[in-house]
Each structure stands twice: as structure tokens, then as C-alpha cells.
């Protein structure tokens, strides 16, 4: 039906992509913008990964070998910022751009010109952030959390550029979020009620509201840093009557919902992929929607669990401990629903499914260490150690990154009209899976045995596991280059893909041809 619509439209005026560089600079097409987001975020992923390799190389053994502590701190800071703001968030916006219109039966995003602007602001903000590496005094070196007064009185000159880049990246993300909400609310095909939306659309809708709620809070926090640095205010300066802990409260009021911003769209992706390859509908669709909403609401009530050792009063400590523990309930519901979807299905193990199963297994590990970290008295030991580093890499790599990898393999046939090599895809999964576990599982041990985070050099009792971890990290890092090759090879000369390459797939995106034509759903489809 849609191809009929395309032919009809083509009769009247030219609807193909523009020629040359102008196509990419001025495009308002959701597919072009989605592609640009995905390519850009992958480049940033490799840049952030290179920084991680520098960190792990230095930590291969005790002593200072590769870099000085001052540069090491710049690497830990920039690795975090680049991965969060440059890699994961833009990758999800790229997926939203490509898939939400196709999944709800809309011809494009609701606000296409703003869409273009939001992408180019992302590039601008990221370039400003990366440029700090080349400034006198170096890049930000106070951790991605930018705690005052280390980031104000004691920060490098480039802090101002860091603040400006966070503002720009924040504006870009808010524009993306507004676009997602406007598209989902207004442009669904007739018959697609809210409770018929694919889970990916649901989780992105909720994520978009989180973005709009908390990015202004981050902007406020960094603006206060800016005022303290340049305008003589003392928001966070105790000597002027300010309060360094206030910064942490404001930052984590943004920061905790932020971690759900990094994970909820991946929940949606997994909820698309597991039913497809289990050939069985998603178990508990309604409870999945409610669990996602519950996680989003709870995420506003738990920020101080990042601050258990700052000297909170006892009642505050107890409140944030209980609230944090409760998040385990809706998260557990999601895990159980995914497993029950597989239970009594008819499962095949194509690469997207492997990443999805890897997601469920490893995210469970990260979730359980999260429950341990929620226990406030024990957190007086765990806090700021490698146990925390292990925890959040176990939720963010198998969570966000595996979610993105799974969706790239799942939807690449739709984007490019070509199939990737299944053998290479599986190799990518297994190398990533083994590398990740060798890199990050020993970090649990290091943290419990007493190794703090963000250390360029460490006592020799931690030497063995650090060596193991570095080897795993290089394996994980190197195997990501395989993904570049796999995608390049598929797009260049992969076998042609059907409109619906996956036997068990459901949804509107599989009703259009592969590759998806430049314009789709100019006549809305009907959903029953």
C-alpha cells in the first residue's frame, strides 16, 4: 500500500534525496538524520573507547607507565562524558529517528527542521567538548560528575568550554525529546491506540519526558558552576556561605533519571527482539508499560543513593535506601517478563537475539549488584570503589550498548536493504561477551578488596585483577572494530534483504520494502 502511495507522490514532484553534501547538511528526512545520528554516535563510541584503552593500559600494572595522573584524570572524565552524551544518548536518538515514524506509521518526525538543527547542535557541542583536550591546562579532569569545588576553584580553564558544551548538548537532546513526544502523540496511524504501540515507542515516550524533566536541571547546575567560576557567586563555595553538597544534590537529581534515560530505550529494543526470535508475543505487555513508567517515576526519588557518605541525616539515608531498593521490583518484573516470553517459545539465535539474551543475563548481574549498593550501611564500604565501576559498566554495556548493537543487527536489513554476515555477527557477540566479562567481573573483586575509583596508580595488592581486567578490556575494545567491518561489508555487498527478514517479526516497519524508501507512509496505514 505504501509503495502505491510512493508512486503516486512521485508523479507530482521529485521526492528523492538531494545530491551531494547538501543532502546531509540540510536534510529534514528522518531516515537521513537517523543515519547521521548513528554514524556520529559510533564515531564518538570509538573515541570514548580509545580513552578507556588509555585508562586500562595505565592500570595494567602498578606504577606510572603510560600517562601522568593529571592526564589520567582527563581520560576518566572525558571517557564518561563522551560515552554518555556523545555515544549512547545520540545513538538512541538515531534509532528513534529511524524507527519511531516507521513503527507508528508516520511519514516523518513531527518537527523535521528542528530535527536537523538538533543533530547539528549535537555535533557542535561534541566538537567543543573534544576541543578541550587540546587546550592549555588540558581537558576537564574532575570526573564526569564535576563536583564543586574541584570543578570551580580548582578546575582547569577548559571547564568553561565543558559547561558550554553541556548546555548545547542539553538543548540538542531536549529538542530531540520534544520531537519524539510530538511524533508519538500526534502522528500515530489511525487505530494505533497508546496501548497498541510497540514497546520501543513506549519506552522512548517515557524517556523523552525524563529528558525534558532533568536536562534543564543539569543546565542549571552547570550554570551555577559557571557563575561561581566567572561571576563571583558562591553557590558551592563554603568560604562564601555556599554549599558543595548542594551541587551534588542538584547534579544527581539530573544524574539518576539520566541513567534511566540511558537504559529505557534499550528495554524497549529488547522487548521488540525477544518476541521476534521466540516467535511468541511479548509476555505482560501491559505490566511492561506500567513497570517502565514506575521506574521512571521512582528515578526522581532516589538521587541521594549516590551520596550515602556525604553526611546525610539518618532519616534521609533511610528514605533513599528504601526508595532505591523498591526500584528492584519493577526491574525484576521486566526481567521475568522477558524470560517468560522465551519460555515455551520457538527460539532461534540470530545475532540480535544473542545480544538480547546477553542483555538479560548481564543486566541481571548489574541489577543485583545495584541491590547490594542500595544497602546504605554496606555502601559505606562500596561507595567510590571499583565495585561501583563494575556495577555501572554491567548495566550500561549490556544494557545500553548491547541494546544498540542488537537493534543495529535487527534493523540493518530494513535500513540498508542488505543482510549482514551471521557468522561475523555471532563472532562479534561472543568476543564482546567474553571481553566484557573478563574486563569488568574482576572489578567487583578489586572494589571489595579496597581499590577506589579514579586511581592512576594503586597498591600492589590490586595488581593481578587489574591485569586481567586490562586484557579483557582490550579484547572488548578490539572486537568493536569488527562491527565497523560487518556493517561496511553488509552495506557494500551483503545479500539482499526481504521486507521482513525475520520470520517472527511483527510491526509496521516490516510492511515497507527493504531498504525503506526515502519516504514512507505518506498515506497512513490502518492498524486494527
Amino acid at each position: 500500500m505504501s509503495s502505491v502511495a510512493d508512486a503516486h507522490a512521485a508523479d507530482h514532484h521529485d521526492h528523492g534525496p538531494a545530491k551531494g553534501i547538501g543532502r546531509w547538511l540540510f536534510t529534514t528526512n528522518h531516515k537521513d538524520i537517523g543515519t547521521m545520528y548513528l554514524v556520529f554516535s559510533f564515531a564518538m563510541f570509538l573515541a570514548g573507547g580509545a580513552m578507556a584503552m588509555i585508562i586500562r593500559a595505565e592500570l595494567f600494572q602498578p606504577g606510572l607507565q603510560m600517562v601522568e595522573p593529571a592526564f589520567f584524570n582527563q581520560m576518566t572524565t572525558m571517557h564518561g562524558l563522551v560515552m554518555i552524551f556523545g555515544a549512547v544518548m545520540p545513538a538512541f536518538v538515531g534509532l528513534a529517528n529511524w524507527m519511531i515514524p516507521l513503527m507508528v506509521g508516520a511519514p516523518d518526525m513531527a518537527l523535521p527542521r528542528m530535527n536537523n538543527w538538533s543533530f547539528w547542535l549535537l555535533v557542535t557541542g561534541s566538537l567543543i567538548l573534544m576541543s578541550t583536550l587540546f587546550m592549555d591546562g588540558g581537558a576537564p579532569n574532575f570526573g564526569w560528575t564535576a563536583y564543586a569545588p574541584l570543578s570551580t576553584t580548582y578546575g582547569p580553564d577548559s571547564t568553561t568550554f565543558f559547561i558550554f558544551s553541556v548546555h548545547i548538548l542539553g538543548i540538542s537532546s531536549i529538542m530531540g525529546a520534544i520531537n519524539v513526544i510530538a511524533t508519538i502523540i500526534n502522528m500515530r496511524a489511525p487505530g494505533m491506540t497508546l496501548m497498541k504501540m510497540p514497546m520501543f515507542v513506549w519506552t522512548w515516550l517515557i524517556t523523552a519526558f525524563l529528558l525534558i524533566a532533568v536536562l534543564p536541571v543539569l543546565a542549571g547546575a552547570v550554570t551555577m558552576l559557571l557563575m561561581d567560576i566567572h561571576f563571583g557567586t558562591a553557590f558551592f563555595d563554603a568560604a562564601g556561605g555556599g554549599d558543595p553538597v548542594l551541587y551534588q544534590h542538584i547534579f544527581w537529581f539530573f544524574g539518576h533519571p539520566e541513567v534511566y534515560i540511558l537504559i529505557l530505550p534499550a528495554f524497549g529494543i529488547i522487548s521488540q527482539i525477544i518476541p521476534t526470535f521466540s516467535r511468541k508475543p511479548l509476555f505482560g505487555y501491559t505490566s511492561m508499560v506500567y513497570a517502565t513508567a514506575a521506574i521512571a517515576i521512582l528515578s526522581f526519588l532516589v538521587w541521594s543513593h549516590h551520596m550515602f557518605t556525604v553526611g546525610l541525616p539518618l532519616p534521609g539515608e533511610l528514605f533513599f535506601m528504601y526508595a532505591t531498593m523498591i526500584i528492584a521490583v519493577p526491574t525484576g518484573v521486566k526481567i521475568f517478563n522477558w524470560i517468560t516470553t522465551m519460555f515455551r517459545g520457538s527460539i532461534s539465535f540470530e545475532t540480535p537475539m544473542l545480544f538480547a539474551i546477553g542483555f538479560v543475563v548481564l543486566f541481571t548481574v548489574g541489577g543485583l549488584s545495584g541491590v547490594m549498593l542500595a544497602i546504605a550501611p554496606a555502601d559505606f564500604q562500596y561507595h567510590d570503589t571499583y565495585f561501583v565501576v563494575a556495577h555501572f559498566h554491567y548495566v550500561l554495556i549490556p544494557g545500553a550498548i548491547y541494546g544498540i548493537f542488537a537493534s543495529v543487527y535487527y534493523w540493518l536489513p530494513k535500513w540498508s536493504g542488505r543482510m549482514y554476515s551471521e557468522a561475523l555477527g555471532k563472532a562479534h557477540f561472543w568476543l564482546s561477551f567474553i571481553g566484557l566479562n573478563i574486563a569488568f567481573f574482576p572489578m567487583h573483586f578489586l572494589g571489595l578488596a579496597g581499590m577506589p575509583r579514579r586511581y592512576a596508580d594503586y597498591p600492589i595488592q590490586f595488581a593481578n585483577f587489574n591485569q586481567v581486567s586490562t586484557i579483557g578490556a582490550f579484547l572488548f575494545g578490539a572486537s568493536q572494530l569488527l562491527l565497523v567491518f560487518i556493517v561496511y561489508r553488509a552495506v557494500k555487498n551483503g545479500p539482499k534483504a526481504d521486507a521482513k527478514p525475520w520470520e517472527g517479526a511483527e510491526g509496521l516497519e516490516w510492511t515497507v520494502p527493504s531498504p525503506a524508501p526515502y519516504h514512507t507512509f505518506e498515506q497512513p496505514p490502518r492498524v486494527d
Partner: protein, 260 residues
Amino acid sequence: MSVQALRAGALATAVTAPSSALAEWGVNLPEGVTSISNTIYDIHMWVFWICVVIGVGVFLAILWSVLAYRHSKGAKPAHFHENTTVEIIWTVIPFLILIMMAIPATGTLVDMYDTSDAEMEIKVTGYQWRWQYEYMDEDISFFSSADTPRDAERNLIEKTEDYKYSVDNPLVLPVDTKIRFLITSNDVIHSWWVPEFGWKQDAIPGFINKNWTKIEEPGTYYGLCAELCGQGHSDMPIEVKAVPKDEYREWVAEQTGDDG
């Protein structure tokens, strides 16, 4: 050039030699030497084993599903997609498990916050990058800085067992005495942490945080700064010498030049 060559040589030796005979494979929290650290260890193990049981259960369920319902073995998919009863069960049971964790955690936290009836007070002040200790009841105050040799950091000489741990002036404390710590900072945020005591507490400029300990065994206990505080973050270790009470009195007398 010669320094570079020396460095490269040392690096090559370090990489090729077995990393360090002194290194350990420690995987768990220390039980520690205070009642609080013991309790924290017990809660940690309690929650850990609950998590292990849940984790194993989840992994077995996944394993069963992927082994028993393979498309390649001709499995026919069922079509169910809802079951209110099981959904209620797996909401309520995790909630009850969480309560089993929360009860001991709450009690411990209340104990940790009880800094009353301390027999002595130590004020700890963080600096970039060293600690200052002030004995509030005595006329004793000194700085404690790392004394790891630079050459060891540069891999020019062998690293000793207390590499990155040893300090010039350790904090000397009596055992079996309830000690209240007043923790603050003079510049950026630091965090004072001795794992054997069971806690870390942030040292924040403009704030005085409190915590307490009562050491049960004499010995030397090491700790590290746990909050990123600049390029010397890994260069401000903590060394505590816990000694019997009479020995502590002698040490105090020595420090204050007072024979009484």
C-alpha cells in the same frame, strides 16, 4: 635520554617479569576490626547470598528456555501472553525479600549514626594531598603524607608491600576506645576510608562530618582517599597504628613532652 632509557628498561622488565609476587587475589570485603565493620560484613554477605540465589534462579530459567524451546529442534511456540497470578507473585515476593534485607540494614545504620559517648575525638582535615590529624583532647596535631618513593612509582626500584599505602606520620589510636572522628577539608572534597573500620566519610570544605569507631585489635590498618580530589588523589593514603591503651598513653606523653 638516560632517564628515558632507564624507564623503558624498567618497564620492559616489569612487563616481562611476573607482575609481582606480592600481589594478591583478594575478592571480598575485609571483616574488619570493629563491631560495625563486622556487622557490615555480615549484611554484605547476607545480601550477597540472596542475590546469588536470585541470580542462579534467573540464569537457570533462561538456560532452560533456550535449551528446551529451540526453533532448530522444531519447538512450536505457545501463544500465551498474560497471567495475572504469576505477575502478582513476582511483584510481591521480591518486595518481601527486600524487606528481609532492609531490616538488618536499618538497625546497622542507626548504630553507625550513634556518635554519642565517645571517649576521645580526632579531627581529620583533608588537604591536596595529605591528611591532618588533630587530637582534640591532647595538644597533638600533625600532617600525614605519603612516603612512597618516586622511584618506585617510576618503576626504577622494586615496589614494597606497602607501596602507595605507607605514610610518614601514621595516626596512632588506642584500642577498645570509642573514638569520634570529625572530618572536614581545607580545599576540595576528599573521603577518609579505612576498610578495616567499615566506613568512609566524605571530607567536605565548610562541613564537619561525624563518624566513629572502636578498634578491637591492635595492628596497622591502611586506607585510601576515596573521593577524586585532583592529580594527587592516589597519593594521600591513611595509615593507622592501633595500640593498647597504655602504649597509647606513652605515645601521647612522648608527643606532648609530658611524662605524666
